[in-house]
């Protein structure tokens, strides 16, 4: 909680500081924990419902912890035809995650998306900002091993 106090006191006299505070909290905590949002609301004397409103308005804020690596598996039509389903279930097996979940060690978050706009490389997977095309379950396993051991 010291971290939070520090952030809050830094913005003590700034008006309209909610967004910068949320940004710093997210940087510090990796996401916006519920109890932290309650404390921010109390401190700024604004309703918690408003903090939640702002936190959900901007895509940059996460309400749940996020992994260091976000795996995005495309489920668009092209990828689907090329066997994205198999790739996805392999990744689920390897990581033990369902869609939207984050591993306990905060290494991976698994998401699915509809069309990453690189259909020529279907089926496709992204880890953070890197693309991996023409995926197979085996290739996925190799890549993930690399990220895991890093």
């Amino acid at each position: 909680m010291d971290k939070l106090d520090e952030i809050l006191s830094k913005y003590k006299d700034t008006k309209g500081a909610l967004i910068p505070i949320l940004q710093e909290v997210q940087e510090g905590f990796g996401y916006l924990p519920k109890d932290v949002m309650v404390r921010i609301a109390k401190d700024l004397k604004i309703p918690v419902s408003r903090v939640y409103g702002v936190a959900t308005f901007y895509a940059q804020f996460y309400l749940a912890p996020y992994g260091k690596y976000t795996i995005r598996v495309c489920r668009g039509t092209a990828c689907h035809i090329q066997g994205a389903k198999k790739v996805l279930s392999a990744i689920k097996n390897i990581t033990g995650l369902e869609e939207g979940e984050t591993s306990q060690d905060l290494r991976f978050t698994l998401e699915t998306v509809s069309c990453l706009g690189a259909c020529a490389l279907a089926p496709i997977m992204m880890i953070n900002k890197d693309y991996f095309g023409k995926m197979t379950p085996q290739k996925a396993a190799t890549i993930l091993r690399r990220y895991r051991e890093e």
């Binding site: 309650v38 309703p47 419902s49 408003r50 903090v51 939640y52 409103g53 959900t56 308005f57």
Partner: protein, 898 residues
Amino acid sequence: MIELIIDEKKVKTKEGATILEAAESIGIKIPYLCYHKSLSPLSSCRICVVEVEGAKSLVAACSYLVSEGMNIKTNTERVIEARRLIIDLLLSNHPLDCLTCEKNGACRLQDYAYELGITSTSFEGAKTQYPPDTSNPFIERDYSKCILCGRCVKVCEEIQMLNVLDFSRRGFETKVATFYDSPLQQTDCAFCGQCVAVCPVGALTEKVRRFRGREWELRKVTIICPYCGCGCIFDLNVKDNEVIKVTSTDGVVNGLALCAKGRFGFDFINSPDRLKTPLIRQNIEDKNKEAKFREASWEEALSLVAKRFKEIKDKYGPDKIAGIASAKCTNEENYLFQKFMRAVIGTNNVDHCARLCHSSTVAGLAVAFGSGAMTNSVDEIKDADCILVTGSNTTESHPIIALKIKEAVKKGAKLIVVDPRRIELVEWADMYLRFRSGTDVAWLNGMMYVIINENLLDEKFIGERCEGFDEFKATVMEYPPEKAEEITGIPADDLIKAARIYATADKASIIYSMGVTQHTSGTDNVFSIANLAMLTGNIGRESTGVNPLRGQNNVQGACDMGTLPPVLPGYQKVIDPQTRAKFEEAWRVKLPEAPGLTMMEMFNKAGKEIKAMYIMGENLMLSVPDLIQAEEALKALDFLVVQDIFLTETAKLADVVLPAVSFAEKDGTFTNTERRVQLVRQAINPIGQSKTDSAIIVDLANIMGYKMHYDDAKSIMEEIAKLTPSYGGISYERLEREGGLQWPCPDPAHPGTKFLHKDKFAGGKGKFHPVKYRPPAEEPDEEYPFRLTTGRMLYHYHGGSMTRRSKGLDEICKEGYVEINQQDATSFGINDGDTVVVSSRRGSIKIKAKITDIVAPKEVFIPFHFAESAANVLTNTALDPIAKIPELKICAVNITNQ
């Protein structure tokens, strides 16, 4: 004044008006969805657009202000096209299940689609779909139907001031949500239903009304809330003699706002538990009061009552019979009740529950100011500069008045809360002074010491309008803040600061309630408060005053109607021969001269000097102190008649039970806490064979040989007005026309009185009273180490006979609890939710523990509504010597873990 043209018609309107307001003033209808006259403009939906000559784009009529010479067209093709597009877009993301939607017939979206002839949307695509939230007992939330107008968000922010709701996410995913989108019951939501009242579509609806009637089948009857003394007005929505729901209308006191009890606590009316026939104890000779009842005809029951009353009167004398009237019944009924006791029975032994709540106010303020009522009006509170709240948990006990206090704070008023409990208002307060309960006089004197000492008093006011100052001053000077601190626990510095805030405010208002009155020093406490107001000249002006909040819907009226042992209607004294002569002439009978017994005296003498009692609409077996002894008292009577709508804990002890009707089944008037007399109108037919209290009393009087006849409630009010100077100008015609009148209203031309004691106190001079601190009758000791205080909570009411039979209210809070401070919980090994035994010298109860910092260490609190864990088993019967009010607010208890 501004002149402009709308649709070729000239219109004159005031500056600052919107186009919408100007148009409505000449009957031109402009559609709107997000606009609501009680809320600041949201301007989000744009359905209200109109064309303004010279302006490039269409403007939103709901927020665009008029200016001189404007030429506006509300109905051009361009305008219609724009509106069509908006409705089309809204329909594209709307479920269109009008077949079973509860809003069908009262939905703005449906209405405008109809007006514009839009049968279906021309857009294709996905619709947002959310599962409806039906998890709380009051409000169904179906956000698939939400049109995102934002009214609910605004009303929760601006009127209820709880900010439970806001917009979340964005774009297509935008949704009105609570924090973390959790169900309302996990938020600060007070279930006021203000959001339901303003939702223009079927997104927010009342859960109980589900599938019980279409909008056009419902008949609306405007009526006054039967719960607290705020006097809120709303519409009962009735179908086939059943109340389906409550909707907001524009009440003088409450506007559209209501609390959970008012909006959702009506289903007791059609409860299967309602008494439908008179009941007679099976073996009436049998003193065993556990015996069963049998149903009886009205004829049999009333002749039995008449016979027994007559026998007892003849054998022992009229003063051996006593009556308890009801703060729940109308003025007309209370008037008849005391008339019955005085003229037919022949005794002044008539009292009602004001004895237990504000008799010390009535006694204290009557002597200090000459009138025992709230001096100012509820609406004035919002304009005060300083509000001192003490002994009133306003948020829960008088929710609508709490809204006015918060409105004042928002406008910059300083709020000082002086209370043993850390109540919700503390969150809004500039200063919170926590004191040891029962030490009111000490802190009040301490505060006045500071005011005198720092010369912050209003000498002119004191000199011109008051008397008794010197003697009073001498006593106050015995209470420097340091001494007050010792007695009360309030730090001297805080007391000094608070005194300065109160004394230097231009308009300071004191709001208090039972925390002040229910003490053996109750009248002294009230004197002290009156002293404080006079000392600073904060009385007789707008937004100032001494404002006792009366607990029940008609407790003010019941007092006004003379259901008090020493006074006839209008506080005219029974000992005054002239007064008696006036009533004797009107009632054609000789009246008893000596003031009668107060309620607690009746109980003490029951079985001895009191042989029979007649109790109308009051569940005493939950509201009087020391219930175990009280039960013995009622059982010791030769004859007990209880008239009520349910077989209450009290009715169960009766020999004869007479079924009365609820507030929804009769005409009459209630007088709210600010002396406002308002009309109640019959909404449904009586349930079963039940009758109005008036009809029962009239029948009984006639059987007993006293001729009584009234055509209707209105004719009773005519008699009241004739005999009661303060009600002299009140008539149903005026109430109907003017929507309520505040007494004193002495003649038909008098507009009523907004605040009392304007240029002169009702009693001439304002009287200072020197009062010294006296400790409560029972203080904690080794055996009983906790100080117990009792009171109300938001979702329940009084003896619980109505709210406990309201499904939603009983679901949201189904049992009693004892609030215990964390510190005590730890040292006594009590966990939150444990069942504990709380005992006092008089009895003990089992109850759930609630660990909280609302109460201070060594103090505990229990709400008194729950029969299963009745707080009043524990409370003390010690009385205030003047008002004879029992010390319900303090007794010593012990707590043991089960």
